[in-house]
Amino acid sequence: MTSSTQQAALDQEHDHGHHGPATGIKRWLFTTNHKDIGSLYLLFSLLMFLIGGGMAMVIRAELFQPGLQLVDPHFFNQMTTVHGLIMVFGAVMPAFTGLANWMVPMMIGAPDMALPRMNNWSFWILPFAFLILLASLFMEGGGPAFGWTFYAPLSTTYSNDNTALFVFAVHIMGVSSIMGAINVIVTIVNMRAPGMTWMKLPLFVWTWLITAFLLIAVMPVLAGAVTMVLTDKYFGTSFFDAAGGGDPVMFQHIFWFFGHPEVYIMILPAFGVISTIVPTFSRKKLFGYASMVYATSSIALLSFIVWAHHMFTTGMPLAGELFFMYATMLISVPTGVKVFNWVATMWRGSISFEVPMLFAIAFIVLFTLGGFSGLMLAITPADFQYHDTYFVVAHFHYVLVTGAVFSIMAAAYYWLPKWTGYMYSETLAKWHFWLSLISVNILFFPMHFVGLAGMPRRIPDYALQFADFNALISIGGFAFGLSQLLFVAVVFKCIAGGQRAPAKVWDGAEGLEWEVASPAPYHTFSTPPEVK
């Protein structure tokens, strides 16, 4: 860089400080503003949600009837694999990172994230990761077809060269998540406004802080796992190959050591969102704030000692099966505490049903349903029957779609007026909610039944007794998919304009984010607020 361009860059940054954002594409490419980056993350995750959803539509279309109609089994496997990867790493995680970027500095009274340049990087490497992943679908022999869990040796000896691209993409996603997590931790630890003590921290911030630590702890383990897959396939190691003294089951141990905390990475921020929204629309303080913090922490800690419940059928000794069963059952205690606290918050409140609250209530009921099936799955003897069937598919879609995704939508409706300065269309949003609620249950509830009746997951074709329910599930799937286009419409309509939103959008809301104007100015809390 020449000194003159350097000077120009400095000048531009100088400009930021006083006159708001640059214009055009440069604003987005070079931005270090937490609100811009938050918006980028959120829009990116919406795009990924639609792409991953498109793949789900392909899956449901193929499964609409028994027999092979649309795609061949190899492509079907690519769809289930990439759908999973995109939804986990492309939709849910970036959406929460986007929410953290937008809201954490505003909630703790900080002017921006602690490490703004790293923030820019952590977002902008993400599109490349997914470009690589999606491009691999077009290579000869197709993209990853080994499931998002990429069990060895299916992903090593028995996969084509897409494994290399897959590993590279996962590495980039991991680096991005880790940078995002580091930024969140440094921001929360170092940049709280004076008087914002730990036990005054909004719960969304608390849950994200714990999530960020989980990310730092397990994303490197995932990086290690994919590196071992790569060296096993290309450099002659045999970490997962018995012929060289390795063990394919060890892959599953390493993967799930990452994988189970990963599940909580996707749900803890959701707990934070719900703990923010329920008090607002109940017009009552959150019940049991301290116990919520402790419950979140204990869920995070427990998540490190339950991983092998994903592997009961791999042939574990009895003692191992018992340990992982008991530890997993234990998780339902702190999770239960959270649900009870939300209900107690609503109890004798003054409740109203704006769209964020509707999504939050749906979350509480449906996430709990997913929790119940989770408890059933923890029971080892019964798990032998449930494992790798649609019962599991139903379970994790209840916690991830009606759990994580619903909470993201609740958060989006809750803060959209703050972000855009306009109210969203209440009518359209209500339509979106009710259509989503009905269709999502038609989509996922019958999966419990086909799973119990014996339909394995990840199959492109099925026996005739599963036909009726699969047709119903597919109809629910298409309806849910189409309903999400309404969400896109609401969001863009809200960005374009509408009724002006006041600074304090919701009368029951509390927190620093409501003390700044709507839309939130480009720079907020340049002088830290005083928290009493």
């Binding site: 028994p66 027999g67 092979l68 089994p73 190899h74 197709g142 077809a145 069990y151 040796p153 299916l154 028995y158 084509n160 018995a242 012929a243 394919p248 109940s282 017009r283 009552k284 959150l286 019940f287 049991g288 059928t313 791999t314 042939g315 009895l318 018992l322 069963m325 059952m329 239960g336 505490v337 649900v339 209900v343 107690a344 609503m346 109890w347 004798r348 409140g349 003054s350 409740i351 709990t368 408890l375 029971i379 080892t380 003897p381 019964a382 032998f384 029957q385 790798d388 069937t389 039944f449 119990l452 009746a453 014996g454 394995p456 990840r458 199959i459 074709d461 099925y462 026996a463 005739l464």
Partner: protein, 380 residues
């Protein structure tokens, strides 16, 4: 009054839903263990229902009665250590109550008492191999659903995708032990009616067992994603009374001896092209079509095409070799141990005379034997 009504309606709804879904519940199965697992499943299901009903009744009560539109004024309370301890302790106790029967069942399942019969189950892409240890009986078991049904050219029959050419046969009332391993990737052997699901890991053996009470035919599937045709890898087990089973086993042994004799006899015969093509087509559809496709076109970049392929239309010896010995490091298996001489001769004839490949060659079983002998000679 109102709550009572609400609860009754909810209960009725739940019960009717449950009856409707009884076909879609976990299988009770035909072993003591599967019964216990089913009971466990139902116990926990009902516990979850009761907890859910209580919690959500409270929540919906609040949603109905504590609405702002009804003029509800928010209360001020926001913590109570007593209540928090209570709703930490009660779920914990419920969990302990659940853990007791679960532990009992699990211990029973992992009981490694002596078995009456041991069967080694080997998964490979995409078929099962069964070996009766100590009895010198072994065979492959492949899905027998015709391709045309899968491709919607024929109407689907009752056991669509859950039928095999040769089912596993076991006796009733005997403890049968399964030793599971795999030839390539991880598979999982699952028969819902036995409540047995165990992974088959390459390089390791796993163990599972069952003791079936009722004769019958029981169907399951591979439960662990194992590549392209994971969905087409059914498990069928025929359970026969002890006497019938022994008869079957003796018959199997006799047939093996007979088959060996026939193999030997075939060497002196010249089979007609029609017969070889018919055998070849059957073998091709069962063993080869999964990868190379019924059209012989393969899957680009994954499985090579056979139509017009130099391997299939060129040197015969190389063609025999790749079928007999496979190609290490690829999905091409060594079929020498899976197919008879006639079957190999048939499938080679079929490949060299189908999809526009028109070498006109007719390969006899004796030529396959000659290839094997030739290898033997070379070695000396």
């Amino acid at each position: 009054m109102k709550i009572a009504k609400l609860i009754t309606i909810a209960m009725c709804l739940l019960v009717s839903m449950f009856t409707f879904a009884s076909d879609y519940n976990m299988r009770v199965g035909v072993t003591d263990i599967s019964n216990q697992v089913y009971q466990l499943h139902m116990t926990i299901f009902w516990i979850c229902c009761v907890i859910g009903l209580i919690v959500f009744s409270v929540m919906f009560w609040a949603l109905i009665h504590h609405r702002r539109s009804k003029g509800a004024e928010p209360a001020q309370f926001h913590e109570s250590t007593k209540v928090e301890i209570l709703w930490t302790a009660i779920p914990f106790l419920i969990l302990v109550a659940m853990a007791v029967p679960a532990t009992k069942t699990l211990i029973a399942m992992e009981d490694t008492d002596k078995a009456d019969l041991t069967i080694k189950v080997t998964g490979s892409q995409w078929k099962w191999h069964y070996e009766y240890l100590g009895h010198d009986v072994d065979f492959y078991s492949l899905m027998s659903t015709p391709r045309a049904q899968i491709d919607n050219m024929q109407s689907k029959t009752e056991n669509y995708l859950l039928e095999v050419d040769k089912p596993l046969v076991i006796p009733t009332g005997k403890k049968v032990r399964f030793l599971l391993t795999s030839d390539d990737v991880i598979h999982s052997w699952w028969v819902p009616d036995f409540a047995v699901k165990k992974d088959a890991n390459p390089g390791f053996i796993n163990e599972a067992w069952t003791n079936v009470n009722e004769p019958g035919t029981y169907r399951g599937q591979c439960a662990e994603l194992c590549g392209k045709d994971h969905g087409f890898m059914p498990v069928v087990v025929e359970v026969k009374p002890e006497a019938e089973f022994q008869e079957w086993l003796a018959n199997e042994k006799a047939q093996r001896a007979l088959a060996a004799q026939q193999e030997a006899a075939l060497l002196d015969q010249t089979l007609s092209k029609e017969e070889l093509m018919a055998t070849g087509e059957r073998v091709y559809m069962a063993y080869c079509a999964a990868c190379h496709q019924p059209t012989g076109l393969g899957l680009q970049g994954v499985f090579p095409a056979l139509k017009g392929s130099a391997m299939v239309t060129g040197d015969l010896k190389a063609h025999i070799e790749i079928i007999m010995d496979g190609r290490p490091g690829t999905a091409m298996q060594a079929f020498a141990k899976q197919l008879s001489l006639k079957e190999v001769a048939g499938v080679i004839t079929y490949k060299r005379n189908s999809w526009g490949n028109d070498t006109g060659e007719v390969i006899q079983p004796s030529q396959i034997q000659a290839y094997l002998d030739g290898k033997q000679e070379e070695a000396k």
